[in-house]
Amino acid sequence: MNSTARAQLNEHMRRLADGDRSAFEPVYASLWAPVRAFCSRALTGLDGEDAAQQALLKMFSRASSFDPSGDALTWALSFAAWECRTVRRRRVRARIGDVDANGAVDARVDGNPTPEAAVIEAELEAAALEVLGALSEADRATLMTTMCDEVPSDVGAATFRKRRERAMTRLREAWRKVYGS
């Protein structure tokens, strides 16, 4: 939005705050696109559009309290930012609720993981790969053998147990180094 359009928006917003209903259309037309773009960037998919609508509802409901010396776009975006924050908090709360109820991030009713669950799983996977990458080739091979529940034929069972313990210790250290306790 260029400075002329912004000045015009401020003027329309001042008139709307004063009670001039004819300024509603231009204010709505000027604010819808930037507020929707802001919310879509801050959130994803339909949530962005819904948050933009909610933000504009709240903004228009408080239109009379607009400070005439203020900037209308900044004012509208502050409502949008607040709405996006609310949606994010709601998402986080829902995620925590899923974990509490089932002990793990839950899947959707139709069996597909929720976008949030998918993101968390991907993050965990990346974290595990990052930590495994910090280990030596021998440690990685030992751990893979352990996960497959096999005992290699070229070493004795006692030797393998000692190797496995050392590899696990190093894995724990590497994990702690990257992600803390």
Binding site: D18, G19, F24, Y28, W32, L56, K58, F60, S61
Partner: protein, 183 residues
């Protein structure tokens, strides 16, 4: 898609109107306090019962409507306080006697207070870009506020107030608005 946008816009418009109604209701709270105070000061509740509710309704509508109507509320109430105070002074004074005849000064107090209120309203209207609208809206509010005091002497008190308001403000406002039209 376009229908969704229209629905969203209508929702925003309704939210705007709801916000204005809420602000108008908040705006009339101080006026409600003034009305109750007037009842206690007057020690008679009849004027409050007759003039109070219309004053609340009118100010709520003016504040909701906004623009010149909304801006006229505060000066209107301020101007209306003048005849109210004049009436209280007159009641405290009692009556004026000329020879053997004594007269109540309440009705003259309403006329004089109304005239002063009219001058105040005219000054407010002079500064407005829509003098007649501001004067009309402010005049109704001032008349109802003043009636809280003047109604206790009956219809003549209210009539005196209205005459005073018209005499005090009409010439100035009419001259002002004619001057604007000629310019």
């Amino acid at each position: 898609m376009e229908a969704d946008v229209d629905v969203a816009k209508e929702g925003a418009r309704r939210a705007y109107e709801r916000g204005r109604v809420r602000d108008a209701l908040v705006g009339i709270l101080p006026i409600a306090v003034i009305i109750v105070l007037a009842g206690f000061v007057d020690r008679t509740w009849t004027p409050v019962i007759f003039a109070g509710p219309p004053l609340l309704v009118v100010t709520a509508v003016l504040l909701w409507r906004g623009r010149h109507f909304g801006r006229a509320v505060l000066p209107g109430v301020a101007a209306g306080v003048v005849p109210f105070v004049a009436m209280q002074i007159a009641r405290a004074t009692g009556h004026a006697c000329a020879g053997s005849a004594c007269y109540s000064v309440c009705v003259p107090a309403c006329v004089i207070g109304g005239s002063l209120a009219g001058v105040l309203l005219a000054q407010m209207a002079k500064r407005s870009t829509a003098p007649l609208t501001s004067w009309g809206a402010g005049g109704v509010v001032a008349a109802l506020t003043g009636a809280l005091g003047c109604a206790c002497v009956g219809t003549f008190g209210v009539l005196g107030l209205l005459v005073g308001l018209l005499v005090g403000s009409a010439p100035l406002v009419l001259l002002q608005s004619r001057g604007r039209v000629q310019r």
